[in-house]
Symmetry: C2
Subunit: 408 residues, 2 copies
């Protein structure tokens, strides 16, 4: 299958327009804080949400709205998570009603999401006041997607967009996304939100199947700080306007779609990890030779989750014992005596452990390998044939600084 | 039951002497790095170890030596964990042989432990060279205990000792301990090691039962950074020299012993958490009203484990949403709408959440509460009658600094 990276983010697929404006939810910053995505037609839609028992009010409302597998618009604010507020559901519903009024879609076909501080009442007033500007500015150009991508950012430093085209038979389909978050994994300002649009014709059940499967090897393998947010939402909408024969069952076309979807979610995982709060390095842990997929995932995730591994990468200190330690407590079924560990970057490959024991290396070369921006920790468990990859970032002074005084 | 705090640490109980010297395992620091504890008589002994699959070689040796429930001496080095080394078991066994030769006990009755960097070969030479000084300096005074407590420190800033006396019938018994670690929980330099001595007469099986039960509510509820070490070892030795009727079954005397033991482990948990790497605050999370003990423990541990809660306490930012979030993903069975959260310190009590929603508070008062050194996060789940307490510390610039460049 050939994937071509294209421009346009969430507006790349046929039938979608988007916009983002500053409506004034954030008092102390002039930053876009309200986003709208609109589809020309009702879309087959699937969502996955945080597993946190404390769930943002927008999730409760969205879950009801997409029960029928159909949505046509998305409204999102940043600056306030609308979570743990007594009137949260009421406000989230009002946001849908406003989006419906200004776009002509049904309120029940609106997906709503919020990201920002937990436990502060979200006023509907700035949102209501901004709706006319927001809807009038909707655009199917790349600028529309970028404005929306900016409007959902909180402590993100970098706007996150991606889009690809791919062929199903003779039909060119497109898939694109915007996302925000310093992890999937971080409450308050750092909810993971991701909105994917495609013009591929695919039924709602197959869309749900594709995304539910995909997150196991994409978003669920991403971690900035192990703090699973209350508001994580991943939503995918399929307009069907590409004109391919609708995908309604498993088979070749579904596999092509899955591959295109995974390219989007993988690219976003890397973007989200690299822009983790305070991050200076992207950490990718590849685990090979696990006895089961579950073991591979547990092992990879444990390494990128370890504060000590993260601090070590920040300090460019090739301390493979920390990787061994994180593997040992990961819960994965593994033989410590069989483990090989390498550190890999653009500067080269540093063998660190062989068969569970440390090997000697040049400190100078180690420093060169680990000062690169993207670091791969390559782990061979030598116990089976399963693999998994997890993404994370280093733990830095700035992470502590950002989170030591977030609200003010 | 009355507990009196007394001096003497691991030498408080009758029949124990200790010492600690600088033998030169650490090249770059003149700090005591080798400790010895000796009992006059063979002691009933019980140990618990790390659950990490990657285990330090000393644990493998100690496990064999205490299989019969008997030990008489403990040898410990800091500066090197003797873990993930091809010759680790051999070196650990040599340490026991050396300890046996200089004290006259059997090598199979020696407990051995190491703490420090993982994956660097531990030379026996400085240990062999130091044994004469170490054994000749053994003392049953408080100074002996303090020297040993210093010798097992790595990045610890504070020496950790505690001792209590208590009565079983008309007999005064004593129990004391030394410990090190910035958590139970931290590889390389920050292994949790704890050695408890008592003169209470108690059988080895009852000693094992007492300690295995106790750690569930003590050491296992302590977390500095969720990184479970490869070398954690908790060892308790009972000389029986107090002269009480030996405890060989459950009942009143066993309960008194359990209470004394828990006083020791609780005190050590607080000392270890407060001296967590880079820590400026001790965090204690008390969870009440859980449906089960398991739920209470999961909830309390999740709060002290959250990097965001930890960074918030560092910044004295009363962001109760982070506590709610950590409770939500803890895995505990709970109703988010029923949760109350208070922040408590010497400066007063700050109500933060009631029935799952944020409550308004004075920022000035909140700052005063959270700038105190010891912070209690008091959580009422209002769903049952079970309780648990967990201990941790804040996440600071210094934690990142210490762990960004540990080896050098």
């Amino acid at each position: 299958m050939t994937l071509n990276e294209i421009q346009g983010g969430v507006c790349a697929a046929r039938g979608f327009s988007a916009n983002g404006i500053h409506c004034g939810i954030r008092k102390n910053k002039v930053k876009r804080d309200l986003a709208l995505i609109l589809a020309k037609v009702p879309c087959n839609t699937a969502c996955v949400y945080t597993t946190n028992l404390v769930k943002g009010a927008p999730i409760l409302v969205t879950r009801e709205h997409v029960k029928d597998g159909i949505a046509q618009a998305v409204i999102v604010n940043s600056g306030n998570a609308n979570t743990c507020n007594a009137n949260g559901v009421e406000i989230a519903e009002e946001m849908c009603v406003l989006a419906a009024r200004y776009t002509g879609v049904k309120a029940e076909d609106v997906v709503v999401a919020s990201t920002g501080v937990i436990g502060q009442t979200l006023s509907i007033d700035p949102i209501a006041a901004g709706m006319q500007e927001l809807s009038e500015g909707l655009s199917s150009s790349a600028e529309g997607s970028s404005a929306a991508a900016e409007a959902i950012m909180t402590t993100d430093l970098v706007r996150k967009e991606i889009a690809y085209s791919f062929m199903i038979g003779d039909t060119e389909c497109r898939i694109g996304a915007i996302a925000k978050g310093v992890g999937m994994i971080c409450p308050n300002m750092a909810t993971m939100l991701m909105f994917i649009t495609t013009d591929c014709a695919i039924s709602a059940p197959m869309l749900q199947k594709a995304i539910s499967e995909d997150v196991k090897d994409s978003m669920n393998m991403l971690s900035v700080d192990r703090d699973t947010s209350t508001n994580d939402t991943l939503c995918i909408m399929a307009s069907g306007l590409a004109g391919n024969a609708p995908i309604e069952e498993e088979g070749g076309s579904f596999e092509i779609f899955q591959a295109a979807l995974h390219a989007v979610t993988m690219a976003m995982c890397k973007k989200l990890a690299a822009d983790g709060e305070g991050a200076t390095h992207l950490i990718e842990c590849r685990v090979h030779g696990a006895k089961s997929k579950r073991d591979a995932r547990l092992a990879a995730k444990s390494v990128v989750n370890s504060n000590l591994v993260k601090a070590m990468i920040f300090g460019a200190d090739a301390n493979g014992g920390r990787v061994m330690c994180a593997l040992g407590y990961s819960g994965a079924d593994l033989d410590p005596q069989a483990i090989d560990v390498d550190f890999i970057s653009a500067a080269g490959t540093l063998p660190a452990y062989r068969q569970g024991s440390a090997v000697a290396f040049s400190e100078e070369f180690a420093k060169r390998v680990l000062t690169e921006k993207e670091i791969v920790i390559d782990v061979r468990l030598n116990g089976g044939a399963e693999e998994a990859t997890a993404w994370g970032c280093d733990l830095t002074y700035d992470y502590v600084k950002i989170n030591g005084d977030y609200r003010t």
